[in-house]
Amino acid sequence: MADIALAHADARRTAPLPGAVDRRIEKSAPLTRFVLRLPEESLTAAGAALGLDFTAPINRAVTSGDRTALRLGPDEWLVLAPATDAAIPGGLAAGLAGRLFSLVDVSHRQTGIRLAGPHAAAMINAVCPLDLGLAAFPVGMATRTIFAKADIVLWRTSPASFHLEIWRSFAPYVAALLHEIGREYPD
């Protein structure tokens, strides 16, 4: 019985966003997500353990293979990896033995949304107050910010595409609002 329940659940994990029929707005595949907190003295060891550069500046994404770490605060990273990547907790525990760090699984806390297209930045700027010009918000920049009345993590993955991380109960709102905004912008 347990396995049946799990199969149903996995089907739901990959279900599309409610109400989002706009092909520019796409729910990302299920991800493993961690909030990782590292004091200065643990940066190098953590980097070695996960193969990610934790010395990169704040509000930047660093990627290695399938893993990405978004530095959202001076000592805070959001680590994203495929749902199949189960090696992060063990890897960190081994690599940081005796050192301070904090790792909290938030895989299910958030929903990922990919927004792509020539008007992607304008659609976000409809209700997000950041300067999304390429000079001010280059590819690879990632930060928490405000999207109307939702808190989001905004990561620019290319000049015309963004990855948004949203707390799950806010995701339908963000998707519906993006859809409403997008009505006036051609694909």
């Binding site: 704040i58 509000n59 959202l72 605060g73 001076p74 805070e76 107050p129 950041l130 930060t143 928490r144 910010t145 405000i146 808190d151």
Partner: protein, 87 residues
Amino acid sequence: MLLIPCPYCGERPEIEFSYGGEAHVVRAPANATDAEWTAFLYQRSNARGSYAERWRHAHGCGRFFNARRNTVTDFFEQTYKIGEVPA
């Protein structure tokens, strides 16, 4: 909407921040007198002009920091991290 210089992230729009009230109000110790405790809890300088205050970049890096802002013009004079001494 103010433009607030976060010491970690640079200038960011006000709606990413939450306000933390007057800065450098030292929490009175457990053995403080009633009057000292009441002063800590409730009394504020509420200055007209240069004012030391706390902000949190709540929808950004999440950090609390201190600022000096002119409460008449709303222009920031400086912002600095918790624990830093203002210039």
